[in-house]
């Protein structure tokens, strides 16, 4: 089954990292991706630029409206996505728990709708 793992974190305050810590944090993500690739579960992954670079788009009455930033002002923001192919929910949860972001943010595990006609 395919699962989309959405990594949410509080981006309102930048982490107070030393250069070494920042390097280690990046390395932890790279290691995670390497491990998921090696296990053959990783279908796709992207890290997202912060919400300050985001644009929210809506079409109302035929008119395209754009807003700077995310539509909803929530505490935790989406920081990255991982599309995994797992045996079952337990395996997806295990991969979510391994994600470096799980220690400070939260990971939403969403099964992909595999057969929309069903």
């Amino acid at each position: 089954m395919k699962y989309l793992l959405l990594d949410y974190a509080d981006t309102s305050k930048a982490p107070d990292y030393t250069p070494e810590q920042a390097k280690a944090a990046v390395q932890a993500w790279l290691d995670y991706v390497t491990e998921a690739k090696a296990a053959g579960v990783l279908l796709a992954s992207e890290a997202l630029r912060p919400v300050t670079d985001a644009t929210t788009v809506r079409v109302r009455k035929g008119k395209t409206l754009t807003i700077d930033g995310p539509f909803a002002e929530t505490h935790e923001q989406l920081g990255g996505i991982f599309l995994l192919d797992c045996k079952d929910l337990d395996e997806a949860i295990a991969w979510a728990a391994k994600m470096p972001g799980a220690k400070y943010g939260s990971i939403e595990v969403r099964p992909v709708w595999e057969n929309p006609q069903a």
Binding site: K87, D88, L89, D90, A92, P111, N115
Partner: protein
């Protein structure tokens, strides 16, 4: 026995087992439940005419598989269903032998998967393994039938759509998943035993069902000490069920209970199961609680209770599972072992953490009463009453409050 009665009996005894085996074979929770339902309707018609088959459970299993094939054929346009159908048809005629594989452990773990809401875990467990109907479960938990039906439907849908596995968890997950499973069983028992509201009759069925499920779990996981511990705990509590309420439905506290009304068979079994648990050398909180309950059960009179040992066991429990509930009980045990003043001091140290918890105020009130502080005791009984929703306990608290107010005035 009429055909209808025979179906009822078979249903109660074998529902979980047939359903668990069907899910294994079909790989689809909802399809298995629907197919079993079809088979039961079929049985009602056929057994009336042909008589009850030699092995009713195997008959139901075979018919359910045929009904599942029928259902799949009707809907075989969907890729997934076609795949199940393909594998079923390629199998030889479903076996008609007497043995249905026992997959109930898988079913239990799936129903109690931590990604389902706790209330859904409870409902699903009672429904699939206990064979309780949706209206029965709705009545027991005081929710409207459509609410319960929706709760069950949503849980089933999540099992399928989110890919919750149907299996006994691997070794690395087993301890935490087993804890969750035991918690569900104990919750079912407590819902029946310490009913926060509602009528007593439906609720005694919940106690029996929790005990039945735990017995099954002991058979399936004979090496788990805590499974034995929970069974022992529930049996020992259950031995006092009759004596806990008087004829008027009021709560009778432990030291005022008529001990001749305690169920000795339950007590003997509970203690034997607890000994079996100890023999596995893997202590845990259910075993400690069962040991406390056993000390009460073994005391011929309230005065003869070994409160010092009980207080020591509560010390152990505090380190295993620290909580306000345990602290309150520990303070009560200390009061009984070393004097009301000692217990009272311990309770006062809990104040802010325990303030919204009625047993805390009830315990405080009882100890204040024992130390002849009637006015303070009355205040504490009033606080407990304001927080307590259980009818039987409220009657007890009201009686105590009146007595304290009389003494204080």
């Amino acid at each position: 026995m009429t055909a209808a009665e025979q179906i009822e009996t078979t249903f109660r005894e074998a529902h979980g087992r047939i359903l668990a085996a069907l899910i294994s074979q079909l790989g689809d929770f909802t399809l298995a439940e629907d197919a079993l339902q079809d088979a039961l309707v079929n049985a009602l018609e056929r057994w009336e005419i042909d008589g009850v088959p030699r092995n009713p459970a195997a008959w139901l299993m075979t018919v359910a598989i045929h009904r599942a094939i029928d259902r799949l054929r009707r809907a075989a346009t969907q890729e997934r269903k076609a795949a199940i159908l393909d594998s079923l048809v390629r199998q030889k005629e479903p076996e008609m032998d007497d043995s249905i594989p026992d997959d109930r452990l898988k079913l239990m773990f799936t129903c109690c998967h931590p990604t389902l809401a706790l209330e859904a875990q409870v409902a699903l467990t009672l429904h699939t393994l206990g064979g309780l109907s949706t209206p029965e479960i709705a009545r027991a938990f005081l929710v409207p039938v459509p609410t319960m039906a929706q709760r069950l439907a949503r849980a089933r849908a999540k099992i399928r759509n989110a890919g919750i596995p149907y299996r006994v968890p691997p070794t690395d997950l087993l301890p935490e998943r087993l804890d969750a499973l035991l918690a569900v069983i104990y919750l079912i028992f407590n819902e029946g035993y310490c009913a926060t509201a509602g009528d007593t009759l439906t609720r005694s069925a919940l106690c029996s069902e929790a005990i039945r499920l735990c017995r099954l779990l002991v058979d399936l996981l004979p090496q788990s000490a805590e499974v034995h511990g929970l069974l022992a705990l529930m049996l020992l509590h259950d031995s006092r069920r009759e004596a806990r309420l008087n004829a008027a439905g009021e709560l009778v506290v432990l030291d005022e209970q008529d001990r001749t009304r305690w169920d000795q068979a339950r007590i003997h079994e509970g203690i034997a199961v607890l000994k079996a648990a100890f023999a596995l050398y893997d202590p845990g909180p259910y075993q400690v609680q069962a040991a406390i309950s056993a000390l009460h059960a073994e005391a011929p009179t309230a005065e003869a209770t070994d409160w010092r040992q009980i207080a020591t066991l509560y010390d152990t429990l505090t380190t295993m599972t620290p909580s306000v509930v345990v602290e309150v009980n520990r303070a009560v045990a200390m009061a009984m072992a070393w004097g009301a003043e000692t217990g009272l001091q311990m309770l006062l140290r809990l104040d802010s953490r325990a303030d919204g918890f009625y047993p805390y105020h009830a315990a405080r009130a009882d100890l204040l009463r024992r130390t002849n502080q009637s006015a303070a005791a009355a205040d504490a009984y009033a606080r407990a009453l304001a927080l307590c929703g259980n009818r039987a306990e409220r009657v007890y608290l009201q009686r105590q409050l009146r007595e304290m107010l009389n003494l204080a005035s």
